[in-house]
Symmetry: C2
Subunit: 159 residues, 2 copies
DNA sequence: TTCCATTGCATAGATTTCTAAGTATTATGT
DNA sequence: ACATAATACTTAGAAATCTATGCAATGGAA
């Protein structure tokens, strides 16, 4: 199919850099695959993708401020505001203005969210298991080391 | 800081699954790191992040249909429509309705985009180099194998 | 040939995310 | 004490992405 019109296509000259060799492209693909499956699995629980990451963090560490949550989840604060607003509307969290520092909001899971805890963590584990199927322990450990190193490398770049 | 309010926080019981051990989270982090740096570097060239991936594919294989492009880039077709519209407005591509099949649009890079080719591929290579700094060749090869396997694993899941 | 399914692209509307800028509260330096 | 800076959150607006649906062209079956 690609060959059908090959004659019309520009032959690549000069610099070459096939996509298949791009770590960034591979990571992007994997990320979308994770997100697609995640979304399929959490939607039946009434949870949206944008809510998931915050829920996931709060399940381990409840009562964080919005800024702390943003740091843990890795999103900018306006994103956090939007996600938390929808989570509050969905009855998953409460936001409590701190008495000592009135700028601060602390975020607490509701009993409803607490009750979902084991089910959601099992769901997360399930997706991870699907992803990691057939990959050796040692390879996974190496993978985690490399991908974390890449993130650190990129975060360290000035511009 | 976390310890300061530990007493108030729910102690995790039952299932546990620390975020730091989640491949999905690691991949998401890496993806955002790639995207952040990418955006910083392409913006000065007048290219938006959403345009990048299509440009990147077209630089290797010009004259694809929108459906083929969607498949290569890995986005849904409405996303492709939006990206291509902005690229056409920006003078990076032309869309030519196929004569043999009037449903079909073929997408061609403009001379302007062609002239950016070597610069953009070098830019892509540069980001990859930053990401991969200090990681051994063998580890990179293993990484690529694992991440591609994860994507394939996830894509194969029914629901 | 004519009808129906398929294919290729587009539109509509929602969600998730960002940057830039604004508001309220608290901390700090003089 | 007061002005200024820093902090915590919010709003506004734009971009990128998705699902669901629609429309036009093509192909295939009866």
């Amino acid at each position: 199919m690609a060959a059908r019109r090959r004659d019309k296509r520009r032959t690549a000259n000069g610099v070459e850099f096939p996509l298949a060799q791009s770590s960034g492209f591979l990571v992007r693909d994997a990320n979308r695959a994770f997100q697609r499956l995640l979304e399929k699995r959490i939607t039946p629980h009434g949870i949206a993708r944008g809510q998931w990451y915050f829920l996931r963090v709060l399940l381990s560490e409840d009562g964080l401020s919005q800024r702390e949550l943003s740091a843990r989840v890795g999103t900018m604060e306006p994103t956090t505001v939007i996600a938390l607003r929808s989570m509050e509307k969905a009855g998953l969290i409460r936001r409590v203005r701190s008495a000592e520092d009135k700028r601060r909001s602390q975020v607490w899971l509701t009993p409803k969210a607490q009750r979902l805890r084991d089910e959601l963590l099992a769901l997360a584990r399930g997706i991870t298991d699907e992803a990691e199927a057939g990959i050796a322990r040692a390879e996974l450990a190496a993978f985690r080391r490399v991908v974390a190193r890449m993130t650190a490398n990129l975060d360290r770049v000035k511009a």
